[in-house]
């Protein structure tokens, strides 16, 4: 039987979760922009805009300590980070293009060597996704196989209804547990009609065809044509729900400090620079080609998934107007 939660009860749920000492993260107005931030009360939840950055940082922070070191009586000591202290967390109000990103990133973070920083946060978190009714003309989730009502990645999925309440589907055991623990906030019933989803300008892409074209066109005039205007600012990577490149650096003195893992971007000129000065991706269009290849070919080769959720953030953020959806449509329409 479908379950319904009213908007007030959704906010009450957040209040309760905060009282339970859970880290509740959701879209919140921060100054003039909406960001995923810790919610201190249900009234913080802002569901009328896509947050500027994706929700990936709940699992994979922009910058995090991976160890600390301290010289004691002349001897260096390295200390692990206590991951058991990572809080139980609930991500609430993430649309499918954000809620779906961990389901993609789990693959790279857990193959062979396991990144327990990411994986421990994943184990301790529940994702309450929400069907998207506020897309704009940069959205292209349908084109990459998701949809405004795609449940992939969500533990509990909410569909906004015309009367302001939400239809709830507990997709996973974590989602069922969240509902069961707060059953009084939910009621059974079919509810009202769902709110309509926004039409998307980008037609559905044939990702198999695109991948095949990429495979055969590592060298192609397209790369220079589309990407020599790229200024290498890295904004597209930093707001992306799926980009996972990072760097490792120390912060502190030679005697006392921390080692940190922090986001990086393949668009940066020095990303692949060798010690000799030689750079395999020596010009910007090679770096941009890597971005497209990684998302639509390499990641699929390795893990069977596309490294893009179609959120459109990179299109909105690019200072020179590079439009990844347009590039994919161009490739999709090629005859050869």
């Amino acid at each position: 039987m479908p379950q319904i939660i009213t908007e007030q009860n959704l906010r009450n749920l957040i209040d309760l979760l905060v009282k339970e000492a859970k880290l509740v993260v959701g879209p919140k107005l921060s100054g003039s922009v909406v960001l995923y931030e810790p919610l201190t009360a249900g009234s913080d939840l802002t569901l009328d805009a896509l947050p500027r950055r994706s929700s990936k940082e709940l699992f994979f922070p922009i910058c995090e300590d991976i160890l600390s070191y301290k010289r004691e009586n002349g001897a260096m000591k390295v200390n692990d980070v206590d991951r058991s202290k990572f809080p139980e967390a609930v991500l609430i109000g993430a649309p499918p293009c954000d809620a779906g990103s961990p389901a993609i990133l789990d693959a790279v973070m857990s193959w062979d060597y396991k990144d327990e920083f990411y994986l421990e946060r994943r184990r301790k978190s529940t994702i309450v996704g929400i069907a998207c009714t506020k897309g704009d003309d940069a959205c292209f989730c349908r084109a990459v196989g998701l949809a405004p009502d795609a449940e992939a990645g969500s533990d509990l999925f909410l569909t906004p209804l015309k009367d302001g309440s939400y239809a709830c589907n507990a997709v996973t055991e974590k989602g069922q547990a969240l509902v069961a623990a707060h059953q009084n906030l939910f009621s059974e019933g079919a509810g009202a009609e769902p709110k309509p989803f926004v039409d998307q300008a980008v037609a559905k892409l044939n990702l198999v065809k695109i991948k095949k074209w990429l495979e055969e066109h590592f060298e192609d005039p397209l790369w220079e044509k589309i990407a020599d205007i790229c200024v290498g600012c890295g904004a597209c990577a930093f707001i992306c729900p799926a980009c996972h490149c990072f760097d490792i650096n120390d912060e502190g003195s030679t005697d006392d400090g921390v080692r940190r893992k922090h986001w990086d971007a393949c668009g940066f000129a020095k990303f692949t620079n060798h010690a000799s000065g030689h750079n395999p991706r020596d010009v910007q269009n090679k770096r941009y080609r890597n971005r497209i290849m990684h998302k639509f070919k390499y990641y699929d080769d390795k893990f069977g998934k596309t490294l893009c959720t179609g959120c459109g953030r990179c299109i909105r953020a690019c200072p020179v107007g590079i439009d990844i959806a347009e590039i994919l449509e161009t490739i999709n329409s090629k005859q050869d």
Binding site: Y113, F246, G252, M293
Partner: protein, 280 residues
């Protein structure tokens, strides 16, 4: 420390010896501080590690010593950046971090019964030096061993003391060279670029494996020479030294096309290299 599931935690090692190979290339001999790690650390020739200088970060170098030499490992690096310059400031007795070993290795057992030709340029000798000593320590397993090694100038040749040792051994043929203009008055090697000197040295390709490491430009001109000498792409091995950070297939920078050098390599045959997207 090793029992943690934190894949980024290094083991601690003490610098036991420092050798200045050239004015800006240095070897560190490292001994693990933890007794268990010291006894149990094992690697294969061709694998690499992440070496850390506390307060600065990590750098990726091959393990340049041979797995047949127990009790220590060595790395060899040129000081060019923040981390390598800080590693250079360290002294005997200081502590560094070591994560690894990572990546694949040279299939040395498959080379048993064959002749070997090592071809290296400049600071690319360390990744082959681990194999050279590994094979010299098992000398009776191999037929002829030839080493062709060149650098820009005499001063840029690394492992000078070992070059002398190899030169004096009668079971190794060492052909050393420097680029035109790079020889001093007493230089006892050849003058010329590595590919040209290799062609003149003309090692037989019969039942022989070639192991090549050098700057991209050297590799580019060496592969056709090897082909002319009769080497097939399956009998040529190289190790790619791309920039890395995590070393474990996550951070996304060492890839050549869809090949992750840190996980799928760093050791590849020429056939594998030719099949990759040409992004070197």
């Amino acid at each position: 420390m090793c029992k943690s599931d934190n894949i980024y935690l290094p083991n601690l090692a003490t610098i036991e010896a420092i050798v200045d190979e050239t004015p800006d290339v240095r070897t560190l001999r490292l001994v693990f501080q933890d007794e268990q790690v010291r006894e149990n650390f094992s690697f294969r020739a061709g694998q690499f590690a992440e070496y850390s200088s506390f307060g600065f970060g990590e750098s990726t170098f091959c393990i340049a010593s041979a797995p047949t030499r127990k009790g220590y490992i060595e790395c060899c690096f040129r000081s060019v950046g923040r981390v390598t310059e800080s590693l250079r400031r360290l002294e005997v007795g200081d502590t560094v971090g070591v994560r690894g070993p990572y990546g694949n290795s040279f299939p040395i057992e498959e080379f048993f019964g064959k002749s070997l030709v090592f071809i290296a340029g400049g600071i690319a000798l360390p990744p082959l030096r681990t194999v050279i000593w590994n094979c010299l320590d098992l000398r009776d397993k191999f037929k002829d061993i030839t080493i062709v090694y060149g650098a820009r100038s005499e001063a840029d040749l690394v492992y000078k003391h070992e070059l002398k040792e190899w030169q004096e051994r009668d079971d190794v043929r060492l052909v050393k060279c420097v680029d035109p203009g790079g020889a001093g008055p007493d230089f006892d090697g050849k003058v010329g670029f590595v590919p040209t000197v290799l062609e003149e040295a003309a090692p037989s390709a019969e039942n022989t494996i070639a192991l090549v490491c050098g700057p991209p430009i050297m590799i580019k001109f060496t592969l056709p020479v090897l082909e002319r000498l009769g080497f097939t792409d399956d009998n040529i091995y190289t190790t790619l030294e791309n920039r890395m950070k995590c070393g474990v297939g996550k951070c996304g920078r060492c890839n050549v096309g869809n090949v992750y050098v840190c996980k799928d390599g760093p050791v590849f045959t020429a056939r594998q290299v030719k099949a990759m997207s040409q992004e070197f």
